[in-house]
Amino acid sequence: MSYCVNCGVELDRTAKRCALCATEVVNPRSPVDTRSPRPFPGYVDRLGAADSRFSALFIVMMWALPSAICVAVNLLFHSSGFWAAYPVGALGLVFLCAGLPALFRRVSVYVFLLIGTCGALAYLYLIELLGPTHGWWAAVALPITLAASASVFVLVALGKRKVRPLYLCCIGMLAPAAVSVAVETTCLLYITGAVTLRWSVIVTVVCLSISLLCLAIGRNSRAMAKLQRRMHI
């Protein structure tokens, strides 16, 4: 049997480290027993996802019922113009973004992001079709939506690579900066034809400052440890 030289406690013969202080077990007279079963099993039981089917059904009902009511009211009482397309389209977009992931849990998140992006573009196109003005979808909506979606794609990809939260925050703050520049540039080009960035510069400066602060804290392990303790949820 082995004892921890730091804590003075006797250790289980299968222990490679002391559980109290993580001191490694090095005992030539009694090497770590790697063949006997450990005191606790290694299998971790995850809580099942049984609830999501009910949530998914609930979401489908939340989309279908109001949509049906809007369409019925539009057709029966307000036959001029198909205004029901707006709420139905909006609810459809919500369903694509929230309902589908709940219904099909094993599909990759990137597929849902792509579906969400296409859904958003389709909804904006529908608004342009039904609205009085035309031509803004290709000039404004398309680039802004693609810029926003690209930012989300990058953030999700970083999140999946298990980047440290502060570094994720650091890069994540660049996303609103990029999107704000894209929005102002696109709008200015469409409206005036000239690009003179104003408010997006302020947003970019603020986001860059926060990003640099996160990077600075992330590289300082002492500050990180203190922040983790204080910001513990």
């Binding site: 289980d12 971790v44 039981d45 995850r46």
Partner: protein, 428 residues
């Protein structure tokens, strides 16, 4: 399949006073589940264990239930299904989802030589859980060919259950006209890096009971008071090393088995919590001073009159007409909010000592030790449970944080008092 008529006629139970809280506060990070286990001298046979469970369950109708949602309160309804034993997982005391596990609110699992019983606290407290576990073990050994009599807390499975065992003892004994206030100063909360999702870090320390008792007597306190004092000291030192501004009191919640003061055969919940502790703002405390504080606190507060007054407050809240007519979804949200903000904020950790477990001699030879464990809670990431059997005292820490400072300070203090400790853990 049961018809609606059969379901309406199925026997049902109201939740006892303590149990009414648990369905409201249970969530992913707070399971309200505790675990009792026994390490046998031989490897567990799952098929025999399953048979033993099927034979034991009818003797405990309070366990053969499922949770149902009423308009004003949750209640328990008879569950005619068959629970299945399962292999133990590395993360015990997981939350009980009411539609899983056949609707049962307990789990029986096995791993190598260990048989574990995890129970949702709405069903019973440690005493009730231990009665079930002992009976299950007795039945298991009987099926193995070693007959165990119904004595020393082992129930006779051939006997019909008695109504006294399902009594809500709170309702019977909460007769005090004094409504003791529940207000206390808020306590220090341990913080740390969260353990991976769904994971509960366990450290079990095995102590020599005789030596631990001798150490306790050396300080002039009982074993429970000694363990509480050691835990308070560990938390106190951990707060000091955390270096935060604003030192807060360090208190440990200790459940008291009310059956010592108010006789009842109920196997449901019947315990009350007291919160001994120290306030480091008064100055530095030595271990002897902490032990003395705990000792006098327990002497002062753990008596029939004071406990009755504390019980009466809770029962009065339950019986308040406004509380009774409030719809369940509002009650649940309010209870959860109050408990999360106030309930656990009043103490730093919990230590439950189930005491010395006695079993018939025919069973004792087949059991190596008993263990107890508390599930994860919302604000207190480190909780402790102790139980002794013959000369082995098992003190189990269950933690939802990665740091082990509290456990290390606890066990190293005990080692310094001359009590050898052997550690087992699921931390890899």
């Amino acid at each position: 399949m049961k018809t609606n008529e059969t379901r309406v006629n199925a026997p049902w139970l109201r939740l006892d006073n303590a149990a009414k809280l648990y369905p409201a506060i249970q969530k992913k990070g707070w399971s309200s589940v505790f675990r009792l286990s026994a390490r046998m001298r031989e490897k567990v046979d799952p098929s025999l264990l399953q048979k033993a469970l099927e034979q034991t369950l009818p003797r405990f109708p309070g366990f053969a239930v499922r949770m149902r949602r009423g308009v004003f309160w949750y209640y328990l309804e008879h569950n005619a299904g068959t629970p299945l034993v399962r292999p133990e997982a590395a993360n015990p005391c997981r939350r009980m989802r009411w539609h899983e596990n056949g609707g049962f609110l307990f789990r029986v699992s096995y791993y190598e030589r260990r048989i574990a019983l995890e129970v949702f606290h709405a069903l019973c407290d440690g005493t009730g859980g231990m009665a079930f576990l002992k009976t299950l073990l007795a039945r298991y050994q009987t099926l193995k060919g070693n007959a165990v009599p119904a004595a020393d807390g082992v129930f006779d499975v051939e006997q019909a259950p008695r109504p006294e065992e399902l009594e809500d003892a709170y309702a019977r004994y909460a007769t005090s006209s004094v409504r003791q206030s529940r207000r206390e100063p808020k306590a220090y909360q341990v913080r740390g890096r969260r353990a991976p999702k769904n994971m509960l870090h366990i450290i079990v320390g095995e102590l020599d009971t005789v030596k631990a008792l001798a150490a306790a007597r050396g300080f002039g306190v009982t074993l429970t008071e000694y363990l509480v004092a050691v835990l308070i000291r560990a938390l106190y030192l951990q707060q000091k090393s955390a270096g935060k501004r604003g030192i807060k009191p360090v208190k440990v919640s200790v459940p008291v088995n009310l059956r010592r003061f108010f006789p009842t055969e109920s196997v449901r919940n019947f315990s009350q919590y007291v919160n001994p502790g120290i306030d480091p703002n008064y100055g530095d405390y030595s271990f002897e001073e902490i032990a003395e504080q705990v000792h006098h606190f327990m002497r002062m507060n753990v008596n029939a009159k004071f406990l009755n007054a504390r019980m009466a407050v809770n029962v009065a809240s339950e019986r308040n007409p406004l509380t009774r007519v409030m719809p369940l979804f509002i009650k649940k949200a309010v209870l959860a909010l109050i408990f999360r903000r106030v309930g656990e904020a009043l103490f730093t950790s919990t230590l439950t000592n189930l005491g010395a477990v006695r079993v018939p001699a025919q069973l004792a030879g087949h059991v190596e030790r008993f263990e107890a464990m508390l599930g994860p809670s919302y604000k207190n990431p480190v909780n402790c449970a102790a139980v002794s059997f013959e000369n082995r005292l098992a003190v189990s820490f269950a933690s939802t944080i990665c740091e082990t400072e509290v456990e290390r300070l606890f066990f190293t203090q005990i080692v310094k008092h001359g009590v050898p400790v052997k550690i087992e853990s699921n931390r890899t």
